[in-house]
């Protein structure tokens, strides 16, 4: 039984179709990586899964609740089972790292402050930031911010962890550390993770399954081996890092030809 089930999802912005009949099932306890180039619709799909936007058509079931149609109260219940680490970390700058992680616990539970402090310390220790709790987000490096965001996402022990571009903008060592952290969380807490990325190395390191998105449609969904074996030209191009050749585009080629001819005429 899928923990997240997306059916026939259609999203349009100003009449432009960004997601076109997307279907995906994410099983409990698996790490699903959403892979795709810039503008492929990854972030849009993520915003839909988090119910930050409403689709034009289709449904998204998160733990059997259709978040495209449910009430705000039901949505709040769903949100409590999801932890999200945004691409920009989205930590609250006016709060310290500790306060950021404690926020959910303080507001959504009746736990005593000492228990909250202990849980916060544990969450920060899990991501390796136990000594940096008193700092404010602006005092952290990019990698530390991302780890702090993961700690905050874990604060209510969610069943689903959503990570948007966790390794974007990080050096390879820090990115690899984050990959290990995601694997550690999966093994330790049996958490279901949805990771959005365009980093191939990271995707193939952490994924149980990969869903490859291009121009609003899934080109391939499967295990790492199945994706590697997929013969779709766009998937192969992405895997082998083959660039689109702009010079071969008809409009560009015609322009260059005209330019060369005019230069020859001037000579």
């Amino acid at each position: 039984m899928a923990i997240i089930s997306i059916r026939d999802l259609v999203v349009e912005y100003d009449g432009r179709r960004v997601l076109d009949g997307v279907e995906l099932d994410i099983e409990p306890g698996e790490i699903m990586v959403l892979l795709g180039g810039s503008g492929s619709g990854k972030s849009t799909l993520l915003r839909q899964i988090l119910a930050l936007e409403r689709p034009r058509a289709g449904s998204i079931l998160v733990k059997d609740t259709d978040i495209t149609r449910c009430s705000q109260a039901d949505l709040k219940g769903v949100y409590r089972s999801i932890g999200v680490a945004f691409q920009s970390a989205a930590l609250f700058n006016s709060l310290s790292v500790e306060e950021n992680v404690a926020l959910n616990l303080r507001e959504h539970t009746a736990l005593a402050p000492t228990i909250i402090d202990l849980i916060v310390w544990m969450k920060l220790a899990v991501v390796g930031l136990a000594e940096f709790g008193k700092l404010h987000p602006q005092e952290l490096s990019g990698g530390m911010k991302k780890r702090a965001a993961v700690a905050r996402a874990l604060s209510l022990d969610p069943e689903i962890l959503v990570l948007d571009e966790p390794s974007a903008g990080l050096d390879p060592i820090v990115a690899a550390e984050l990959d290990e952290l995601i694997l550690f969380l999966k093994e330790t807490f049996q958490i279901t993770a949805l990771v959005v990325t365009h980093e191939m190395a990271s995707a193939f390191r952490i994924a149980d399954r990969i869903a490859m998105l291009s121009e609003g449609k899934f080109l391939a969904v499967g295990t790492k081996d199945e994706i590697r074996a997929c013969q779709h030209p766009r998937v192969q191009q992405f895997l082998n890092r083959v660039p689109d050749n702009p010079v071969r585009a008809p409009a560009v080629a015609a322009y260059l030809e005209r330019y060369v001819r005019s230069e020859e005429a001037n000579l």
Binding site: L50, K76, Y79, I82, F86, S88, A90, F92, L103, H108
Partner: protein, 267 residues
Amino acid sequence: MANVLEIAGRETLAELDYVGRLNIQLWATLRAMRRSLPLIGNRHRWHAAVQQMLEIGVDALPMVALLAMCSGFILAMQGASELRRFGALHYVIDLVAISFTRELGPLITAIAVCGRSGSAFAAEIGTMKVTEEIDALKVMAFDPVEFVLAPKYLAALVAVPCLSIVSNLFGILAGGLFMFFSTHLALLLYFKYVMVSIALRDVVAGLIKSLAFATIVAHVGCLEGFRVRGGPDAVGRSTTMAVVRSTFMVIVADAVFTAIFYFVGQM
């Protein structure tokens, strides 16, 4: 001609849409504001509201006082230059006292708060939008209106009338200093005349206006912040729009209130 009508129609619809959004936001804030109140609400929201009161009110005190002093001097000097010709210099006291309590005190305060706090609200919330903090609040099952806007609105409702009273005092004091230096009228006597010339309903009318101005400044500033789409340049535009729109709406609201009080006073 058709084009002009088309543009006028489109602009009118856009403005109506804006006013509609303001009303929806105001209603949502009023519903959420109970949680920002002391004792019965959430203490973290109340602390946030107190912090905002300090920023909107206490931090603006020197600026508002200076603006009121300057305006008081200008009004007294301009009034005296004409009234002196008719031997009615003592009417400067009534002019300054009534003008400030009914009109200038709340208006000067509102314009100062527009520039200081309205723009700050738009910049703060706009930045939170750009850095995904508002999205983070939503997926953490917080209502951004309750979390961000309600404490600001509550703080503005308390701070702006207080600032208006301060503005009245300093404006009237400036008139007293002018009278002291130009006619050697003792300050104590001046204030005795002031108490005779102003009525309680003048002060109450000014305070009612300042509550309306606080509503406009807080809501326009926050709405402009929530409307930010895109990057940091959009935050800059929203800040400018917050000041322009709220200043315009404050002056329009002032005209409406003055007309209402005028006709009610005639009856």
